[in-house]
Protein backbone atom coordinates (compact mmCIF):
# COMPACT_ATOMS: atom_id res chain seq x y z
CA UNK A 1 0.00 0.00 0.00
CA UNK A 2 2.70 2.46 1.02
CA UNK A 3 4.85 1.75 -2.03
CA UNK A 4 1.83 2.18 -4.30
CA UNK A 5 1.20 5.49 -2.63
CA UNK A 6 4.78 6.61 -3.16
CA UNK A 7 4.69 5.49 -6.78
CA UNK A 8 1.52 7.46 -7.36
CA UNK A 9 3.02 10.52 -5.67
CA UNK A 10 6.19 10.20 -7.75
CA UNK A 11 4.15 9.98 -10.93
CA UNK A 12 2.42 13.26 -10.07
CA UNK A 13 5.67 15.12 -9.51
CA UNK A 14 5.64 18.36 -11.42
CA UNK A 15 1.99 19.09 -10.72
CA UNK A 16 0.57 20.25 -7.41
CA UNK A 17 -1.26 17.85 -5.10
CA UNK A 18 -1.78 17.24 -1.40
CA UNK A 19 -1.35 14.18 0.75
CA UNK A 20 -3.67 13.40 3.63
CA UNK A 21 -2.78 10.90 6.35
CA UNK A 22 -4.97 9.73 9.20
CA UNK A 23 -2.84 10.25 12.31
CA UNK A 24 -5.34 9.78 15.10
CA UNK A 25 -8.74 8.21 15.61
CA UNK A 26 -11.32 7.23 18.14
CA UNK A 27 -13.80 4.59 16.96
CA UNK A 28 -16.25 4.29 15.49
CA UNK A 29 -14.73 5.73 12.32
CA UNK A 30 -13.86 4.07 9.03
CA UNK A 31 -10.39 5.56 8.58
CA UNK A 32 -7.48 4.05 10.52
CA UNK A 33 -4.12 5.59 11.46
CA UNK A 34 -1.82 5.45 8.46
CA UNK A 35 -4.65 5.51 5.92
CA UNK A 36 -3.66 7.99 3.31
CA UNK A 37 -4.82 9.68 0.16
CA UNK A 38 -3.58 11.93 -2.59
CA UNK A 39 -5.81 14.83 -3.54
CA UNK A 40 -5.34 16.66 -6.83
CA UNK A 41 -6.42 20.25 -7.50
CA UNK A 42 -9.38 18.93 -9.52
CA UNK A 43 -10.71 17.45 -6.28
CA UNK A 44 -9.94 13.96 -7.46
CA UNK A 45 -8.96 11.72 -4.58
CA UNK A 46 -6.73 8.67 -4.73
CA UNK A 47 -6.46 6.35 -1.74
CA UNK A 48 -8.54 6.09 1.39
CA UNK A 49 -8.94 8.30 4.45
CA UNK A 50 -12.43 7.27 5.48
CA UNK A 51 -15.81 7.75 3.93
CA UNK A 52 -18.95 9.68 4.59
CA UNK A 53 -18.58 13.25 5.68
CA UNK A 54 -14.80 12.93 6.10
CA UNK A 55 -13.97 12.85 2.43
CA UNK A 56 -15.46 16.20 1.39
CA UNK A 57 -13.82 17.90 4.41
CA UNK A 58 -10.43 16.44 3.53
CA UNK A 59 -10.79 17.49 -0.10
CA UNK A 60 -11.75 21.02 0.92
CA UNK A 61 -8.81 21.38 3.31
CA UNK A 62 -6.44 19.75 0.81
CA UNK A 63 -7.38 22.33 -1.81
CA UNK A 64 -6.79 25.09 0.72
CA UNK A 65 -3.43 23.58 1.62
CA UNK A 66 -2.42 23.56 -2.05
CA UNK A 67 -3.65 27.13 -2.45
CA UNK A 68 -1.84 28.47 0.60
CA UNK A 69 1.17 26.19 0.40
CA UNK A 70 0.77 25.28 4.06
CA UNK A 71 0.34 21.99 5.85
CA UNK A 72 -2.45 21.57 8.41
CA UNK A 73 -3.86 19.21 11.00
CA UNK A 74 -7.61 18.80 11.09
CA UNK A 75 -9.77 17.13 13.69
CA UNK A 76 -13.18 15.82 12.87
CA UNK A 77 -15.16 15.01 15.98
CA UNK A 78 -18.79 14.89 17.00
CA UNK A 79 -18.05 16.99 20.05
CA UNK A 80 -15.49 19.68 20.05
CA UNK A 81 -12.76 19.06 22.55
CA UNK A 82 -12.98 21.56 25.37
CA UNK A 83 -9.46 22.84 24.92
CA UNK A 84 -8.76 23.83 21.36
CA UNK A 85 -5.19 23.17 20.39
CA UNK A 86 -2.85 25.47 18.57
CA UNK A 87 -3.52 25.58 14.83
CA UNK A 88 -5.73 22.52 14.74
CA UNK A 89 -8.74 22.97 12.48
CA UNK A 90 -11.94 21.54 13.91
CA UNK A 91 -14.85 20.09 11.97
CA UNK A 92 -17.99 18.56 13.40
CA UNK A 93 -18.48 14.88 12.62
CA UNK A 94 -21.95 14.88 11.16
CA UNK A 95 -22.36 11.33 9.96
CA UNK A 96 -21.22 9.23 12.92
CA UNK A 97 -21.94 9.15 16.57
CA UNK A 98 -19.01 9.45 18.94
CA UNK A 99 -16.06 8.86 16.64
CA UNK A 100 -13.21 11.23 15.99
CA UNK A 101 -10.34 11.48 13.53
CA UNK A 102 -7.23 13.55 13.12
CA UNK A 103 -5.87 14.00 9.64
CA UNK A 104 -2.63 15.61 8.64
CA UNK A 105 -2.72 17.29 5.24
CA UNK A 106 0.36 18.50 3.43
CA UNK A 107 0.64 20.17 0.05
CA UNK A 108 3.24 18.91 -2.39
CA UNK A 109 3.94 21.73 -4.79
CA UNK A 110 6.17 21.63 -7.85
CA UNK A 111 9.35 23.61 -7.39
CA UNK A 112 9.36 26.91 -9.23
CA UNK A 113 11.01 27.15 -12.61
CA UNK A 114 13.63 29.76 -13.36
CA UNK A 115 14.07 30.40 -17.07
CA UNK A 116 17.17 32.40 -17.94
CA UNK A 117 17.73 33.83 -21.40
CA UNK A 118 21.39 34.43 -22.15
CA UNK A 119 24.82 33.03 -21.46
CA UNK A 120 26.35 35.97 -19.66
CA UNK A 121 28.15 35.96 -16.33
CA UNK A 122 24.91 37.06 -14.65
CA UNK A 123 23.10 34.17 -16.36
CA UNK A 124 25.70 31.76 -15.00
CA UNK A 125 25.38 33.19 -11.50
CA UNK A 126 21.56 32.95 -11.71
CA UNK A 127 21.88 29.34 -12.74
CA UNK A 128 24.10 28.47 -9.78
CA UNK A 129 22.16 30.46 -7.21
CA UNK A 130 18.79 29.33 -8.57
CA UNK A 131 19.84 25.72 -8.06
CA UNK A 132 21.18 26.55 -4.61
CA UNK A 133 17.69 27.58 -3.54
CA UNK A 134 16.17 24.51 -5.15
CA UNK A 135 14.55 25.96 -8.28
CA UNK A 136 14.41 24.10 -11.58
CA UNK A 137 16.71 26.10 -13.82
CA UNK A 138 16.41 26.27 -17.59
CA UNK A 139 18.88 28.29 -19.63
CA UNK A 140 18.09 29.32 -23.19
CA UNK A 141 20.69 30.82 -25.52
CA UNK A 142 22.32 29.83 -28.79
CA UNK A 143 25.97 28.66 -28.55
CA UNK A 144 25.80 27.81 -24.87
CA UNK A 145 28.92 26.37 -23.35
CA UNK A 146 27.32 23.57 -21.32
CA UNK A 147 30.38 23.31 -19.05
CA UNK A 148 29.59 26.75 -17.71
CA UNK A 149 26.00 25.78 -16.92
CA UNK A 150 26.51 22.43 -15.31
CA UNK A 151 23.97 23.09 -12.58
CA UNK A 152 21.11 23.73 -15.00
CA UNK A 153 18.29 21.21 -15.22
CA UNK A 154 17.77 21.93 -18.89
CA UNK A 155 19.76 23.74 -21.57
CA UNK A 156 18.06 25.00 -24.70
CA UNK A 157 20.51 25.97 -27.38
CA UNK A 158 18.26 28.55 -28.95
CA UNK A 159 15.85 31.26 -27.87
CA UNK A 160 12.87 29.12 -28.76
CA UNK A 161 11.06 28.26 -25.54
CA UNK A 162 7.62 27.52 -26.94
CA UNK A 163 7.86 23.83 -26.08
CA UNK A 164 8.27 24.53 -22.39
CA UNK A 165 5.43 24.04 -19.98
CA UNK A 166 4.49 27.39 -18.50
CA UNK A 167 1.57 25.96 -16.57
CA UNK A 168 3.83 25.79 -13.52
CA UNK A 169 5.24 28.66 -11.61
CA UNK A 170 7.81 30.11 -13.98
CA UNK A 171 10.00 33.16 -13.50
CA UNK A 172 11.92 34.55 -16.45
CA UNK A 173 15.10 36.60 -16.40
CA UNK A 174 16.47 38.00 -19.64
CA UNK A 175 20.19 38.40 -19.17
CA UNK A 176 21.43 38.55 -22.74
CA UNK A 177 23.40 41.80 -22.42
CA UNK A 178 23.62 42.70 -26.06
CA UNK A 179 23.06 39.33 -27.70
CA UNK A 180 19.70 39.71 -29.42
CA UNK A 181 18.08 41.32 -26.39
CA UNK A 182 14.96 42.18 -28.36
CA UNK A 183 14.34 38.62 -29.54
CA UNK A 184 14.84 37.17 -26.07
CA UNK A 185 12.70 39.77 -24.31
CA UNK A 186 9.95 39.33 -26.90
CA UNK A 187 9.93 35.56 -26.38
CA UNK A 188 9.93 36.11 -22.65
CA UNK A 189 6.95 38.47 -22.47
CA UNK A 190 4.95 36.43 -24.96
CA UNK A 191 4.96 33.46 -22.61
CA UNK A 192 2.57 35.55 -20.52
CA UNK A 193 4.18 34.54 -17.21
CA UNK A 194 3.79 37.17 -14.48
CA UNK A 195 7.48 37.72 -13.69
CA UNK A 196 9.80 38.83 -16.47
CA UNK A 197 12.85 40.88 -15.63
CA UNK A 198 15.43 42.34 -17.95
CA UNK A 199 18.99 42.83 -16.76
CA UNK A 200 19.78 46.16 -18.35
CA UNK A 201 20.23 49.81 -17.58
CA UNK A 202 17.12 51.91 -17.44
CA UNK A 203 17.92 53.63 -20.72
CA UNK A 204 18.59 50.43 -22.60
CA UNK A 205 15.48 48.80 -21.19
CA UNK A 206 13.36 51.70 -22.37
CA UNK A 207 14.79 51.50 -25.89
CA UNK A 208 14.22 47.78 -26.18
CA UNK A 209 10.68 48.06 -24.77
CA UNK A 210 9.91 50.86 -27.20
CA UNK A 211 11.19 48.74 -30.07
CA UNK A 212 8.98 45.84 -29.02
CA UNK A 213 5.98 48.12 -28.68
CA UNK A 214 6.54 49.23 -32.24
CA UNK A 215 6.66 45.61 -33.31
CA UNK A 216 3.15 45.32 -31.93
CA UNK A 217 3.72 43.58 -28.61
CA UNK A 218 0.94 44.47 -26.18
CA UNK A 219 1.87 47.40 -23.92
CA UNK A 220 0.33 45.56 -20.94
CA UNK A 221 2.91 42.83 -21.38
CA UNK A 222 5.77 45.26 -21.81
CA UNK A 223 4.93 47.63 -18.99
CA UNK A 224 5.23 44.93 -16.35
CA UNK A 225 8.75 43.91 -17.34
CA UNK A 226 11.00 44.56 -14.38
CA UNK A 227 13.93 46.62 -15.59
CA UNK A 228 16.17 47.46 -13.89
CA UNK A 229 15.81 44.00 -12.38
CA UNK A 230 16.05 42.94 -8.76
CA UNK A 231 16.03 44.55 -5.37
CA UNK A 232 18.12 47.59 -4.56
CA UNK A 233 20.89 46.00 -2.52
CA UNK A 234 23.53 47.91 -4.51
CA UNK A 235 24.62 44.64 -6.05
CA UNK A 236 28.15 44.63 -7.39
CA UNK A 237 29.15 41.97 -9.87
CA UNK A 238 27.13 39.14 -11.48
CA UNK A 239 26.70 37.05 -8.32
CA UNK A 240 25.29 39.87 -6.25
CA UNK A 241 23.05 40.90 -9.14
CA UNK A 242 21.76 37.34 -9.24
CA UNK A 243 21.08 37.43 -5.48
CA UNK A 244 19.12 40.66 -5.90
CA UNK A 245 17.05 39.19 -8.75
CA UNK A 246 16.26 35.99 -6.86
CA UNK A 247 15.19 38.09 -3.88
CA UNK A 248 12.79 39.94 -6.18
CA UNK A 249 11.49 36.64 -7.55
CA UNK A 250 10.79 35.33 -4.04
CA UNK A 251 9.14 38.63 -3.20
CA UNK A 252 6.95 38.35 -6.30
CA UNK A 253 6.17 34.71 -5.57
CA UNK A 254 5.23 35.31 -1.96
CA UNK A 255 3.28 38.51 -2.46
CA UNK A 256 0.61 36.85 -4.57
CA UNK A 257 -1.37 36.60 -1.37
CA UNK A 258 -0.83 40.27 -0.76
CA UNK A 259 -2.59 41.09 -3.96
CA UNK A 260 -5.56 39.12 -2.70
CA UNK A 261 -5.44 41.22 0.40
CA UNK A 262 -3.85 38.87 2.86
CA UNK A 263 -0.89 39.89 4.93
CA UNK A 264 1.35 42.78 3.99
CA UNK A 265 0.50 46.39 4.55
CA UNK A 266 0.48 46.91 0.81
CA UNK A 267 -2.15 44.25 0.37
CA UNK A 268 -4.37 45.87 2.95
CA UNK A 269 -4.24 49.24 1.26
CA UNK A 270 -5.29 47.59 -1.93
CA UNK A 271 -8.03 45.38 -0.65
CA UNK A 272 -9.86 47.79 1.60
CA UNK A 273 -9.75 50.46 -1.11
CA UNK A 274 -9.08 53.25 1.33
CA UNK A 275 -8.35 56.60 -0.29
CA UNK A 276 -4.73 57.23 0.82
CA UNK A 277 -5.31 61.00 0.85
CA UNK A 278 -8.56 61.54 2.73
CA UNK A 279 -8.98 58.08 4.25
CA UNK A 280 -12.46 57.55 2.81
CA UNK A 281 -13.43 53.98 1.97
CA UNK A 282 -13.75 53.63 -1.76
CA UNK A 283 -15.12 50.50 -3.41
CA UNK A 284 -12.45 49.44 -5.90
CA UNK A 285 -15.12 47.91 -8.12
CA UNK A 286 -16.85 51.20 -8.71
CA UNK A 287 -14.12 53.75 -7.99
CA UNK A 288 -13.90 56.38 -10.69
CA UNK A 289 -10.38 57.49 -9.82
CA UNK A 290 -7.34 55.33 -9.34
CA UNK A 291 -3.58 55.37 -9.84
CA UNK A 292 -0.92 52.74 -10.01
CA UNK A 293 2.27 53.09 -8.07
CA UNK A 294 4.95 50.44 -7.72
CA UNK A 295 2.63 47.74 -8.92
CA UNK A 296 -0.22 48.64 -6.58
CA UNK A 297 -3.51 50.26 -7.36
CA UNK A 298 -4.73 53.09 -5.17
CA UNK A 299 -8.34 54.27 -5.28
CA UNK A 300 -9.62 57.80 -4.70
CA UNK A 301 -12.93 59.40 -3.89
CA UNK A 302 -12.43 62.32 -6.26
CA UNK A 303 -10.14 63.87 -8.84
CA UNK A 304 -8.61 66.17 -6.21
CA UNK A 305 -7.31 63.30 -4.09
CA UNK A 306 -5.96 61.53 -7.15
CA UNK A 307 -4.17 64.67 -8.26
CA UNK A 308 -2.59 65.13 -4.86
CA UNK A 309 -1.45 61.51 -4.82
CA UNK A 310 -0.03 61.63 -8.33
CA UNK A 311 2.07 64.65 -7.52
CA UNK A 312 3.93 62.92 -4.71
CA UNK A 313 2.98 59.24 -4.68
CA UNK A 314 6.01 58.24 -2.61
CA UNK A 315 4.78 60.16 0.41
CA UNK A 316 1.26 58.74 0.33
CA UNK A 317 1.82 55.20 -0.87
CA UNK A 318 2.03 52.40 1.63
CA UNK A 319 5.16 50.98 0.10
CA UNK A 320 6.85 48.54 2.34
CA UNK A 321 10.39 49.11 3.38
CA UNK A 322 11.71 45.65 2.97
CA UNK A 323 14.51 45.95 5.43
CA UNK A 324 12.71 45.01 8.58
CA UNK A 325 12.43 47.60 11.23
CA UNK A 326 14.72 46.33 13.90
CA UNK A 327 14.99 49.62 15.71
CA UNK A 328 13.94 47.86 18.88
CA UNK A 329 17.03 45.78 18.63
CA UNK A 330 19.56 48.55 18.27
CA UNK A 331 21.27 48.61 21.56
CA UNK A 332 21.28 51.81 23.37
CA UNK A 333 22.81 51.79 26.82
CA UNK A 334 20.52 54.61 27.95
Amino acid sequence: MFDEFLTKAAALRGSPFAIAIVVGFRPPVSGKPGDKAIIQPSGQIWGWIGGGCVQPIVVREALRAIEEGKARLIRIASTQNSKSEYEVIHYPMTCHGGGAMEIYIEPVLPVPQLLVFGRTAAARALCKLGKAIGYDVIVAAPDLDSRLFQDADQLIESRDVRDLDFGRETYIVVSTQGEADEVALERAVLTGVPYVSFVASRRKAEKVLQFLAERGIAPELLSRVKAPAGLDIRALGPEEIAVSILAEIIFTRRSKKTLRGDTLEAGRARSDGRDPICGMIVDPATAGYFSEYCGQTYYFCCAGCKQEFDQKPETHATTTERIKDVSGYIFNPE
Partner: protein
Protein backbone atom coordinates in the same frame (compact mmCIF):
# COMPACT_ATOMS: atom_id res chain seq x y z
CA UNK B 1 58.50 43.87 -14.06
CA UNK B 2 55.09 42.40 -14.90
CA UNK B 3 56.24 39.03 -13.70
CA UNK B 4 57.43 40.54 -10.40
CA UNK B 5 54.15 42.38 -9.93
CA UNK B 6 52.07 39.27 -10.52
CA UNK B 7 54.08 37.01 -8.28
CA UNK B 8 53.99 39.61 -5.49
CA UNK B 9 50.24 40.10 -6.10
CA UNK B 10 49.72 36.40 -5.76
CA UNK B 11 51.78 36.22 -2.60
CA UNK B 12 49.97 39.16 -1.01
CA UNK B 13 46.50 37.89 -1.79
CA UNK B 14 47.36 34.43 -0.49
CA UNK B 15 48.40 36.06 2.74
CA UNK B 16 45.04 37.80 2.86
CA UNK B 17 46.60 41.24 3.33
CA UNK B 18 44.76 44.22 1.84
CA UNK B 19 46.68 46.33 -0.67
CA UNK B 20 46.16 48.55 -3.72
CA UNK B 21 47.51 48.53 -7.26
CA UNK B 22 48.29 51.88 -8.88
CA UNK B 23 48.74 52.03 -12.65
CA UNK B 24 49.68 55.12 -14.65
CA UNK B 25 47.17 55.26 -17.47
CA UNK B 26 47.91 58.61 -19.11
CA UNK B 27 50.71 61.13 -19.19
CA UNK B 28 50.61 64.57 -20.72
CA UNK B 29 53.81 66.52 -20.87
CA UNK B 30 56.85 65.18 -19.15
CA UNK B 31 56.80 62.82 -16.23
CA UNK B 32 59.20 60.30 -14.87
CA UNK B 33 56.72 57.43 -15.04
CA UNK B 34 55.16 56.11 -18.26
CA UNK B 35 51.72 54.70 -19.00
CA UNK B 36 51.67 51.18 -17.64
CA UNK B 37 53.99 51.97 -14.73
CA UNK B 38 52.70 50.22 -11.66
CA UNK B 39 53.12 50.20 -7.94
CA UNK B 40 51.76 48.03 -5.14
CA UNK B 41 50.89 49.88 -1.96
CA UNK B 42 50.05 48.21 1.31
CA UNK B 43 47.55 49.29 3.94
CA UNK B 44 50.19 51.34 5.75
CA UNK B 45 50.70 53.42 2.58
CA UNK B 46 54.07 51.83 1.91
CA UNK B 47 55.11 51.18 -1.67
CA UNK B 48 55.92 47.48 -1.63
CA UNK B 49 56.95 47.21 -5.23
CA UNK B 50 57.06 49.29 -8.41
CA UNK B 51 57.12 52.94 -9.34
CA UNK B 52 54.56 55.51 -10.51
CA UNK B 53 56.72 58.59 -10.16
CA UNK B 54 58.66 60.12 -7.34
CA UNK B 55 58.23 62.77 -4.73
CA UNK B 56 54.86 64.46 -4.51
CA UNK B 57 53.23 62.17 -7.07
CA UNK B 58 54.08 59.21 -4.96
CA UNK B 59 52.75 60.86 -1.82
CA UNK B 60 49.46 61.62 -3.48
CA UNK B 61 49.11 58.14 -4.94
CA UNK B 62 49.95 56.56 -1.59
CA UNK B 63 47.36 58.72 0.10
CA UNK B 64 44.68 57.79 -2.43
CA UNK B 65 45.66 54.12 -2.24
CA UNK B 66 45.08 54.17 1.52
CA UNK B 67 41.65 55.66 1.00
CA UNK B 68 40.87 53.16 -1.70
CA UNK B 69 41.76 50.30 0.63
CA UNK B 70 39.56 51.94 3.24
CA UNK B 71 36.39 52.35 1.17
CA UNK B 72 36.98 49.44 -1.19
CA UNK B 73 36.42 51.55 -4.30
CA UNK B 74 38.75 51.95 -7.26
CA UNK B 75 39.47 55.49 -8.46
CA UNK B 76 41.25 57.46 -11.14
CA UNK B 77 43.45 60.22 -9.75
CA UNK B 78 44.55 63.11 -11.91
CA UNK B 79 47.82 64.59 -10.76
CA UNK B 80 48.39 68.10 -12.05
CA UNK B 81 52.11 68.50 -12.45
CA UNK B 82 52.03 72.17 -13.46
CA UNK B 83 49.95 73.79 -10.80
CA UNK B 84 52.41 74.78 -8.13
CA UNK B 85 49.86 76.62 -6.05
CA UNK B 86 46.96 74.20 -5.80
CA UNK B 87 48.42 71.10 -7.39
CA UNK B 88 51.20 68.92 -6.19
CA UNK B 89 53.68 71.59 -7.11
CA UNK B 90 55.89 69.64 -9.46
CA UNK B 91 58.00 71.69 -11.78
CA UNK B 92 58.07 68.98 -14.42
CA UNK B 93 54.89 70.16 -16.12
CA UNK B 94 52.03 68.16 -17.61
CA UNK B 95 49.35 65.98 -16.04
CA UNK B 96 49.19 62.36 -15.15
CA UNK B 97 46.31 59.98 -14.55
CA UNK B 98 46.68 57.06 -12.21
CA UNK B 99 44.17 54.24 -11.80
CA UNK B 100 44.12 52.87 -8.27
CA UNK B 101 42.35 49.65 -7.40
CA UNK B 102 42.12 48.06 -3.97
CA UNK B 103 42.59 44.32 -3.56
CA UNK B 104 40.91 43.27 -0.36
CA UNK B 105 40.71 39.84 1.23
CA UNK B 106 37.27 38.27 0.73
CA UNK B 107 34.76 39.04 3.45
CA UNK B 108 34.15 36.22 5.86
CA UNK B 109 30.80 34.60 6.45
CA UNK B 110 30.63 32.70 9.71
CA UNK B 111 27.58 30.51 10.09
CA UNK B 112 26.87 28.99 13.47
CA UNK B 113 24.54 26.03 13.24
CA UNK B 114 23.42 23.27 10.94
CA UNK B 115 20.26 22.46 9.06
CA UNK B 116 18.81 23.50 5.74
CA UNK B 117 19.10 27.27 6.24
CA UNK B 118 22.76 27.02 7.27
CA UNK B 119 23.54 24.62 4.43
CA UNK B 120 21.95 26.81 1.78
CA UNK B 121 23.54 29.94 3.19
CA UNK B 122 26.98 28.31 3.00
CA UNK B 123 26.45 27.65 -0.72
CA UNK B 124 25.08 31.14 -1.40
CA UNK B 125 27.98 32.69 0.51
CA UNK B 126 30.54 30.71 -1.42
CA UNK B 127 29.01 31.69 -4.78
CA UNK B 128 28.81 35.34 -3.73
CA UNK B 129 32.52 35.45 -2.95
CA UNK B 130 32.65 35.01 0.81
CA UNK B 131 35.11 32.86 2.63
CA UNK B 132 32.67 30.59 4.44
CA UNK B 133 33.20 29.11 7.88
CA UNK B 134 30.59 26.83 9.40
CA UNK B 135 30.78 26.17 13.09
CA UNK B 136 28.64 23.62 14.83
CA UNK B 137 29.33 20.59 16.99
CA UNK B 138 27.22 18.52 14.61
CA UNK B 139 28.39 19.99 11.31
CA UNK B 140 29.31 17.32 8.81
CA UNK B 141 31.38 17.80 5.67
CA UNK B 142 28.73 16.10 3.50
CA UNK B 143 26.19 18.75 4.47
CA UNK B 144 28.56 21.62 3.72
CA UNK B 145 30.54 20.64 0.64
CA UNK B 146 31.13 24.28 -0.28
CA UNK B 147 32.32 25.61 3.06
CA UNK B 148 35.94 26.75 3.20
CA UNK B 149 36.22 25.70 6.82
CA UNK B 150 34.30 23.53 9.28
CA UNK B 151 34.86 24.15 12.97
CA UNK B 152 33.28 21.58 15.26
CA UNK B 153 34.71 23.21 18.37
CA UNK B 154 31.88 25.76 18.26
CA UNK B 155 31.49 29.49 17.80
CA UNK B 156 33.11 30.44 21.06
CA UNK B 157 36.28 28.50 20.48
CA UNK B 158 39.50 30.35 19.72
CA UNK B 159 39.34 29.02 16.16
CA UNK B 160 36.66 31.55 15.31
CA UNK B 161 37.92 35.10 14.96
CA UNK B 162 35.55 37.99 14.50
CA UNK B 163 36.51 41.30 12.94
CA UNK B 164 35.04 44.19 10.94
CA UNK B 165 35.22 42.03 7.80
CA UNK B 166 33.17 39.23 9.35
CA UNK B 167 29.48 38.61 8.68
CA UNK B 168 27.89 36.42 11.32
CA UNK B 169 24.72 34.38 11.06
CA UNK B 170 23.66 32.43 14.14
CA UNK B 171 21.20 29.71 13.20
CA UNK B 172 21.89 27.06 15.81
CA UNK B 173 18.37 26.29 16.95
CA UNK B 174 19.79 25.39 20.33
CA UNK B 175 21.37 26.88 23.42
CA UNK B 176 24.37 29.17 23.54
CA UNK B 177 23.22 31.77 21.01
CA UNK B 178 23.58 34.57 23.55
CA UNK B 179 27.29 33.84 23.92
CA UNK B 180 27.81 33.67 20.16
CA UNK B 181 26.03 36.97 19.61
CA UNK B 182 28.03 38.52 22.42
CA UNK B 183 31.29 37.39 20.84
CA UNK B 184 30.15 38.79 17.46
CA UNK B 185 29.30 42.16 19.03
CA UNK B 186 32.55 42.37 20.95
CA UNK B 187 34.50 41.47 17.85
CA UNK B 188 32.83 44.31 15.94
CA UNK B 189 31.33 42.12 13.19
CA UNK B 190 30.03 43.91 10.08
CA UNK B 191 26.70 42.08 10.24
CA UNK B 192 25.08 40.00 12.94
CA UNK B 193 21.92 38.01 12.36
CA UNK B 194 20.09 35.74 14.74
CA UNK B 195 17.72 33.22 13.26
CA UNK B 196 15.55 32.21 16.18
CA UNK B 197 11.98 32.35 17.39
CA UNK B 198 10.74 35.63 18.85
CA UNK B 199 10.84 34.18 22.34
CA UNK B 200 14.40 32.98 22.09
CA UNK B 201 15.57 36.17 20.38
CA UNK B 202 14.12 38.14 23.29
CA UNK B 203 15.99 35.98 25.79
CA UNK B 204 19.21 36.70 23.93
CA UNK B 205 18.50 40.44 23.92
CA UNK B 206 17.70 40.42 27.62
CA UNK B 207 21.00 38.71 28.30
CA UNK B 208 22.93 41.17 26.12
CA UNK B 209 21.39 44.17 27.81
CA UNK B 210 22.46 42.86 31.23
CA UNK B 211 25.81 41.35 30.26
CA UNK B 212 27.97 44.41 30.78
CA UNK B 213 29.30 44.49 27.23
CA UNK B 214 31.51 47.43 26.29
CA UNK B 215 29.04 50.26 25.76
CA UNK B 216 30.43 51.64 22.54
CA UNK B 217 30.43 48.16 21.00
CA UNK B 218 26.88 47.57 22.14
CA UNK B 219 25.72 50.91 20.79
CA UNK B 220 27.19 50.17 17.38
CA UNK B 221 25.90 46.65 17.09
CA UNK B 222 22.72 45.94 15.29
CA UNK B 223 21.57 42.41 15.75
CA UNK B 224 19.12 41.46 13.06
CA UNK B 225 16.33 39.32 14.39
CA UNK B 226 14.25 38.51 12.48
CA UNK B 227 17.01 38.20 9.91
CA UNK B 228 16.88 38.92 6.20
CA UNK B 229 15.05 41.20 3.81
CA UNK B 230 11.30 41.09 4.17
CA UNK B 231 10.52 39.36 0.89
CA UNK B 232 8.03 36.91 2.36
CA UNK B 233 10.52 34.03 2.43
CA UNK B 234 8.94 30.78 3.66
CA UNK B 235 11.09 27.80 2.83
CA UNK B 236 14.55 27.41 4.43
CA UNK B 237 16.15 28.05 1.03
CA UNK B 238 14.17 31.26 0.61
CA UNK B 239 15.08 32.38 4.12
CA UNK B 240 18.76 31.77 3.34
CA UNK B 241 18.45 33.90 0.20
CA UNK B 242 16.70 36.69 2.08
CA UNK B 243 19.57 36.70 4.61
CA UNK B 244 22.14 36.69 1.81
CA UNK B 245 20.46 39.64 0.12
CA UNK B 246 20.43 41.50 3.43
CA UNK B 247 24.15 40.82 3.85
CA UNK B 248 24.88 42.24 0.39
CA UNK B 249 22.60 45.18 1.09
CA UNK B 250 24.33 45.97 4.40
CA UNK B 251 27.74 45.59 2.85
CA UNK B 252 26.96 47.79 -0.14
CA UNK B 253 24.48 50.20 1.39
CA UNK B 254 21.27 49.29 -0.44
CA UNK B 255 17.69 50.21 0.42
CA UNK B 256 16.11 46.79 0.06
CA UNK B 257 13.32 48.18 -2.09
CA UNK B 258 12.77 46.99 -5.65
CA UNK B 259 15.07 48.56 -8.23
CA UNK B 260 12.01 50.02 -9.94
CA UNK B 261 10.94 51.77 -6.74
CA UNK B 262 14.49 52.86 -5.97
CA UNK B 263 14.86 54.39 -9.43
CA UNK B 264 11.48 56.09 -9.09
CA UNK B 265 9.97 54.30 -12.08
CA UNK B 266 6.39 54.40 -10.95
CA UNK B 267 4.71 53.31 -14.08
CA UNK B 268 6.26 52.80 -17.45
CA UNK B 269 4.26 54.39 -20.20
CA UNK B 270 4.36 52.33 -23.33
CA UNK B 271 2.41 53.78 -26.22
CA UNK B 272 -0.42 51.70 -27.62
CA UNK B 273 0.29 50.90 -31.27
CA UNK B 274 -2.53 51.76 -33.69
CA UNK B 275 -5.32 49.32 -34.37
CA UNK B 276 -4.41 46.84 -31.62
CA UNK B 277 -6.01 48.42 -28.65
CA UNK B 278 -9.33 46.60 -28.75
CA UNK B 279 -8.01 43.06 -28.63
CA UNK B 280 -7.56 41.32 -25.31
CA UNK B 281 -4.02 40.50 -24.24
CA UNK B 282 -4.52 36.75 -24.49
CA UNK B 283 -5.45 37.00 -28.16
CA UNK B 284 -2.43 39.13 -28.81
CA UNK B 285 -0.20 36.62 -27.05
CA UNK B 286 -1.48 33.95 -29.38
CA UNK B 287 -1.07 36.14 -32.46
CA UNK B 288 2.36 37.28 -31.49
CA UNK B 289 3.51 33.75 -30.83
CA UNK B 290 2.54 32.93 -34.37
CA UNK B 291 4.26 36.02 -35.66
CA UNK B 292 7.44 35.18 -33.83
CA UNK B 293 7.52 31.56 -34.82
CA UNK B 294 8.89 32.47 -38.25
CA UNK B 295 12.02 33.98 -36.72
CA UNK B 296 15.17 31.97 -36.45
CA UNK B 297 15.65 30.78 -32.87
Amino acid sequence: MYRDIFSTLNELSLRGAPFAIATVIEIEGSGSAKPGSKALIDCNARVILGWVGGGCVENMVRQEAMESIGDGRPRIVTVDLTDEVFGVGMPCGGTMKVYIEPVLPPPELVIAGHGRIAETLAVLGQITGFSVTVTDPGAMCEAFPKADRLVTAGFNSSEINIGPNTYVVVATQHKGDHLSIRKAIEGGAAYIALIASKTRAQLVFDYLAAAGIDESKLAQARVRAPAGLDIGAQTPEEIALSVMSEIVSVRRGGSGRTMLEAKGILRREIPEPDGQSEKPVSERIAENSKAVSGNPG
